[in-house]
């Protein structure tokens, strides 16, 4: 399938949006406005954007704690997203969850699993519902390279394979789990090569190439919908920043940082679209301005949103029903 110009522009725009949105949140954290830590997916935008654009609104997703643009593509409003990160009443979880617990039921966003091992079994269960009810939807489960070494990966990938579940497993291999490099943590170089243990296709993709990611996920989605079962896709990319806003990030060689920043997914894609004549300086500025405005509005909305009443902190512990 060829990717339309329109879609390419969308990809570009979302990548820029993802980056500016997270830079904005990062700054707010440093200003002390965000409780706890914040994790950016800066450098990984092509993976998050490519994978999510391959979905329909009705498909389910489990995003990671980075790449908040995934939520936006799925349908979340950037203002309410930022509000949740700030812990405000207007946020998706009314301030209860924060950045590592964003969920948006209206757009079938099942939410981040902050205990990283949980994403796999939850995805299996969601895919099971789709298969049993024959909904024509898939589940996209995203996870990091570090998380790929956890036990539930093994349990859930095997189960998804024997049950032919409509799930697409997308590893955002950004090379590190905090300070732990995947190269040292894993006995083999590619997460996707573990697909052989589960009798499913495994693909290594350049995770900084938004179109490649998009195509690979799109095909896996179609395969899943056709009853072909799950696929394991590994997107090789890089976490350009520290692990979180707390991390001074001293453990990575400068050459490595430099090499990857030369391969920045946005710059690269911009260049490609320029070459193809799809983008020019004017258009770029236009998009940048539009995105800037969108992020500013999101920030404004969030910052001007009220704090939730403290007493609301004990609401929603149980779903009320006749038994209470």
């Amino acid at each position: 399938m060829t990717i339309s110009e329109e879609l390419m522009l969308q990809m570009y725009r979302y990548m820029v949006l993802g980056r500016l949105f997270e830079q904005s949140a990062e700054q707010l954290t440093h200003k002390g406005l965000i409780p706890g830590a914040f994790h950016t997916g800066i450098g990984e935008e092509a993976t998050h954007v490519g994978a999510c654009l391959a979905l329909t609104h009705k498909d389910y997703i489990i995003p990671t704690h980075r790449g908040h643009v995934a939520d936006i593509i799925k349908g979340a409003d950037p203002g309410r997203l930022m509000a949740e990160i700030l812990g405000r009443a207007t946020g998706y979880c009314g301030g209860r969850g924060g950045s590592v617990h964003i969920a948006d039921a209206a757009s079938n966003n099942l939410g981040v699993q902050a205990v990283l091992s949980a994403a796999y079994p939850v995805a299996v269960g969601a895919a099971l519902t789709q298969k049993r009810a024959n909904t024509g939807r898939i589940v996209l489960a995203m996870f990091g390279d570090g998380a790929s070494l956890m036990g539930t990966f093994h349990e859930a990938l095997n189960l998804s394979a024997i049950w032919h579940l409509p799930v697409v497993w997308v590893c955002v291999n950004n090379q590190y789990a905090m300070s732990t490099s995947f190269a040292e943590a894993s006995a083999i170089a590619n997460v996707a090569d573990r697909a052989c243990a589960y009798n499913m296709p495994g693909h290594v993709v350049d995770g900084n190439d938004v179109m490649a990611v998009y195509e690979t996920v799109r095909e896996a989605r179609e395969r899943a919908l056709a009853g072909g079962g799950p696929t394991l896709i590994e997107c090789k990319t890089y976490r350009q920043g520290g692990h979180s806003t707390f991390d001074t990030n001293p453990y990575r060689p400068q050459e490595e940082l430099d090499a990857w920043s030369k391969r920045d997914p946005i710059t690269q894609f911009e260049q490609r679209l320029r070459e193809r004549g799809i983008l020019d300086e004017k258009r770029i500025t236009q998009i940048a301005d539009g995105v800037r405005q969108q992020v500013d509005e999101a920030e404004e909305f969030a910052l001007s949103s009220p704090e939730p009443p403290p007493e609301a902190g004990v609401e929603f512990v149980f779903r009320s029903s006749e038994v209470e």
């Binding site: 979880c93 969850g97 099942l110 939850v122 049993r132 929603f316 038994v323």
Partner: protein, 329 residues
């Protein structure tokens, strides 16, 4: 109401059968619950015969407790109403993250956007399979906001509470004591549910209150019978659900009897009797004529050897003794 006598196992089985019939979204996920042609039908045979009508809703998995509970959560978040079976409660340790961090917190964390209507059934209690197949842990789960904890002690309660558990929109831990599976009791032919948070007075009395949980409720009733013959009137209360906990029934009884013993099979230290004793000691402070008596297992793993395990576990004699101790105070 027409009733007949059936086992605790069959009562559970009927609840599953009826709820699967009632609602398409209900399915059962676990190990060996279908169990091939001929059928293992569950380690304790609770899913016996269900394959006849619901073969495609008995989902046998490999031995992956973490993923069993987690898959139930994901299915529930997307509209299913799964019942997960964990063979032995001891193995729920493998699924603690999914149960405690995911199932119990999702409704809260998403401000009610998602709910997690799952039932996790597990067999508890000691029958000689050694220290890793014998636990009864309830206080761990009472401690978790967002989780209901149910321990039926009779076939009637087993059926009614399991139906309620399946229909409830919250995650429920449903514990079945192994020694109860073959116990018989009267169960109505007609449809019924038992609301959570309503204790049952198994036997009314005026002299002393015994709050006894799960398998201990039956033992306490026996002890009450023995003591009645000795002229002592014991009120036995089975809370049936530890979360929510029907404090009113307990408090009322204690305000009447002024003496109370709380009994559970769990290890005594930090077990469920601690919370109940603390609540009663606070709420009934001026009514209590003796300190709250507590009966639980000695603080040890449950040995394989029968004599040792009987020594460790609480029994009728221990309840008897505790009642006499509060009476003699």
């Amino acid at each position: 109401m027409t009733t007949r006598e059936i086992t605790f196992r069959d009562a559970l089985n009927e609840a599953l059968q009826e709820e699967m019939g009632r609602e398409e979204g209900v399915f059962i996920i676990g190990q060996d619950i279908y169990g091939g042609p001929g059928g293992y039908q569950g380690a304790f045979k609770v899913t016996k015969g269900l394959a006849k009508d619901f073969r495609d809703r008995l989902l046998d998995t490999p031995m992956i407790e973490q993923t069993i509970v987690g898959a139930a959560v994901g299915a529930a978040m997307t509209g299913s109403r799964p019942v997960a079976e964990i063979m032995f409660e001891d193995f729920i340790t493998l699924a603690m993250d999914l149960l405690v961090n995911t199932a119990a917190k999702t409704h809260y964390m998403t401000a009610g956007q998602y709910c997690v209507p799952i039932v996790v059934r597990a067999a508890c209690g000691a029958v000689g399979v050694g220290p890793q197949h014998s636990q009864t842990w309830t206080s761990w789960f009472m401690h978790i906001p967002g989780l209901y904890v149910v321990l039926p002690s009779t076939p009637y309660d087993a059926k009614g509470l399991l139906k309620t558990a399946i229909r409830d929109d919250n995650p429920v831990l449903f514990l079945e004591h192994k020694k109860l599976y073959n116990v018989k009791g009267r169960v109505p032919e007609e449809e019924y549910e038992i609301p959570f948070g309503e204790a049952r007075v198994l036997c009314p009395g005026d002299d002393v209150t015994v709050v006894a949980i799960g398998y201990m409720a039956g033992l306490a009733t026996q002890v009450a019978g023995t003591l009645r013959d000795q002229g002592l009137s014991v009120e036995v209360i089975d809370p049936r659900t530890l979360a929510p906990l029907d404090l009113e029934t307990i408090f009322q009884s204690v305000r009447k009897t002024h003496k109370v013993v709380v009994v559970a099979e769990d290890c005594k230290t930090a077990g469920p009797t601690a919370e109940i004793a603390a609540l009663v000691s606070e709420a009934c402070f001026e009514y209590l004529d003796a300190p709250v008596g507590r009966v639980g297992a000695r603080d040890a793993p449950i040995a394989h050897n029968v004599g040792m395990s009987e020594y460790i576990l609480p029994d009728a004699a221990d309840i008897h003794e505790a009642v006499q101790r509060v009476i003699a105070w």
